[in-house]
């Protein structure tokens, strides 16, 4: 079994014709036998990263190496074999097949791996016993509690004893009693040489982790004086998909706000002139920049932190800002 290594990973997809990069240049290493939690709000790329690790989604660039094999280079049958033999996935909302019993759900990957029917049944029974469901073998998912369904999902994920387990929001649909039993189970999986990667926005899970990767690190938002920037024509102020902590108000010159389109190239969204402001949404809502800003002419802008900007807007200013009303003078 081996370590998991991610280097300069970029995932890009098209959204409304624009290129969106939920993961932009991610690099990390996870040693064998550890549990890593991917933390972040909805839409930050947790599930996207899990899909890449599971060989389901191909990144735009970068590499994912597991046990010395670059997953991003796998194709066809080899990739399907990797998915089946090397990866076990615990899906959000369990995703058990409703027409199959707990036993049969666990049998699916075993049968797909070519095991005989009797061996499959025996192994599935062992696994369900291991997760404490020996008395629920013949129950369909609809007859099981959320926690029990999640345990069946875990049994299915570890059916072929894969060295990499991916769990997507494993506690999302569970009450606190069920959460406890699932957390214990997931922690117990990260033994030996196995790597467990859990994507969640639930910070209560953090004590489980050997390593936590925050996919949307909080940007320092300490109040500091406005910062004036001078740019030559063509210079980039900030790039799309990056994080930032300043909202800019144009003082002199012009800035072009452009968005990358899915087919390649850029689309001009707006030209910002003196008095215009931009970059407010990413800063206020802790989202990546949705566009690239570049000086169209020699230009000057003043960068405000969220706190300073709010002060400048006044009490009702935030609503005006979201509706993109003009700034008061000053």
């Amino acid at each position: 079994m081996g370590d998991l290594s991610i280097a300069d990973l970029v995932v890009e997809y098209s959204s409304g014709g624009y290129a969106v990069r939920p993961i932009n240049g991610l690099s990390l290493d996870v040693p064998a036998g550890s549990l890593m939690i991917l933390l972040g709000p909805s839409g930050c790329g947790k599930t996207t990263l899990l899909s890449c690790l599971g060989g389901i989604l191909r990144p735009k660039s970068g590499s994912i190496t597991f046990d010395g094999v670059d997953i991003t280079a796998l194709e066809g049958g080899v990739l399907a074999k990797y998915r089946r033999d090397q990866v076990g996935i615990v899906f959000q909302a369990f995703n058990l097949v409703p027409s199959l019993t707990a036993l049969e759900n666990v049998m699916v990957p075993l049968r797909a791996a070519g095991m005989s029917r009797s061996a499959t049944r025996q192994r599935a029974e062992e696994l369900l016993t291991q997760v404490g469901l020996a008395d629920r073998l013949k129950h369909r998912p609809g007859d099981l509690s959320g926690g029990q369904q999640q345990r069946v999902a875990v049994a299915r994920a570890i059916a072929l004893d894969p060295p990499l387990i991916l769990a997507d929001e494993p506690t999302a649909h569970l009450d606190f009693i069920q959460v406890e039993e699932v957390l214990r189970l997931i922690r117990s999986l990260a033994q030996g040489e196995r790597v467990v990667v859990v994507a969640t926005h639930d910070s209560r899970m953090l004590p489980l982790a050997d390593r936590v990767v925050d996919l949307v690190p909080a940007v320092a938002s300490t109040s500091r004086p406005p910062e004036t920037v001078h740019l030559k024509a063509g210079e980039v102020l900030f790039e799309q998909s990056t994080m930032g902590d300043l909202i800019y108000v144009v003082s002199e010159g012009e800035f072009e706000i452009v968005r990358e389109v899915a087919e390649g190239g850029e689309e001009l969204v707006k030209v910002a002139r003196p008095g215009d402001y931009f970059g407010e949404f990413g800063v206020l809502f802790n989202l990546p920049r949705s566009a690239t800003v570049r000086a169209r002419t020699d230009a000057k802008a003043v960068g405000y932190t969220a706190h300073a900007f709010r002060e400048r807007l006044g009490v009702k200013g935030l609503g005006d800002l979201i509706e993109r009303r003009e700034l008061p003078g000053g």
């Binding site: 899906f91 199959l100 049969e104 699916v108 049968r111 797909a112 299915r156």
Partner: protein, 349 residues
């Protein structure tokens, strides 16, 4: 993933039953229609076989010995009977007649032949007609020996019953002496539509041709060619309906199971296994429907007022066609399953 496909069928049992019953009914109707089209030929074949002749000698150029015949004088009968290879020869005549028995009026196909044949069928009850005013009628008329019937201005007495003798979509046959038919149809002129021959004449008098039984059957079938064609078209349309029913079932099933397929793919189940499961569902539905169709066809056939004879080949072909129907019908569902993105499995509820 065949076991998953079978479990899914149990899971959606109600819908499955509806599809099987609907498709089974379609298959039954298709079988009955096939039986109807085949029935035309079977009853024509029975009628021709019952005449007991090996060949029909007709005027050169005539389309057939019965309905397509050109009536001709029986002057060459003796010459033909003397030809080498001819065991027996008899003057035969055919005409469409309307007859009345009491208040009941029926359209019939009338055949004229000598009392002792060839050309006179076996009589089940009574005897063959021996005089021009006697007639043997098909048992399907449900008339009795000794009853009097009227054919135009002529009164005839029923002297015999011929078992189940019909042609032209269950139109009953009646049998008279050749002279009797000549009186009814040709004003007593000694005209015939063919000379029925037992044996194989090696030579024919000039101006004549010999037609075998198959040609006789085709001649009797000629008026029902168009209805038979229409029935065949209906049967073809029903096959298409069956494909659509099974196809809808499989496609809906595929649509509802997209998340399942995504999960299967994400955990490494080969796409071909998923497709095999879907195709299996279609084939099972089609085969169950075929079994039901055979049973329903047996129940429906007697309700039709025409001869329905389902050929053995139809029973043998039905399961094969059903499998083909199933596979064809599952194409849309299979296509949908192939395109499922395994990333869909990561979605929420």
């Amino acid at each position: 993933m065949l076991f998953a496909a079978l479990r899914d069928m149990r899971w959606r049992m109600r819908r499955l039953v509806i599809a099987v019953v609907s498709t089974g009914l379609i298959f039954a109707m298709t079988l009955v229609l096939t039986g109807l089209a085949n029935g035309f030929r079977v009853e024509a074949q029975r009628t021709v076989d019952s005449l007991g002749v090996d060949a029909f000698v007709v005027k050169a150029g005539a389309a057939g010995p019965f309905l397509g015949a050109t009536p001709f004088a029986e002057v060459d009968l003796a010459r033909l009977a003397a030809e080498p290879g001819v065991v027996a020869a008899a003057p035969l005549a055919t005409a469409q007649l309307t007859i009345k028995e009491g208040t009941s009026t029926r359209n019939t196909t009338a055949f004229g032949a000598p009392e002792h044949g060839p050309g006179m069928p076996r009589v089940k009850q009574g005897r063959a007609p021996s005089t021009p005013d006697e007639v043997a009628v098909s048992s399907t008329l449900d008339w009795h020996v000794g009853n009097d019937i009227q054919a135009g201005a002529h009164a005839l007495r029923i002297v015999g019953i011929v078992p189940n003798s019909t042609a032209l979509a269950k139109r009953p046959n009646i049998f008279l002496t050749t002279e009797g038919l000549q009186q009814l149809a040709y004003n007593g002129q000694p005209l015939v539509t063919s000379i029925g021959v037992v044996g194989a004449p090696r030579q024919l008098p000039s101006g004549y041709q010999a037609l075998d039984r198959a040609a006789g059957v085709n001649d009797l079938l000629s008026p029902v060619k168009s209805p038979a064609g229409a029935i065949t078209i209906m049967a073809t349309l029903l096959w298409i309906v069956a494909v659509l029913i099974v196809g809808s079932l499989v496609y809906l099933s595929a649509l509802e199971r997209l998340r399942d397929f995504a999960v299967f793919k994400a955990i490494g189940v080969p796409t071909r296994s998923i497709l095999a499961g879907l195709a299996l569902q279609a084939v099972v539905v089609a085969l169950l429907a075929a079994v039901l169709g055979v049973i329903l066809a047996q129940l429906l056939a007697p309700l039709f007022p025409m001869t329905v004879v389902m050929p053995a080949s139809a029973y043998l072909a039905l399961p094969l066609v059903a499998i083909l129907v199933g596979l064809l019908a599952s194409l849309a569902g299979l296509r949908r399953a192939v395109t499922v993105d395994p990333a869909l499995a990561f979605g929420g509820p």
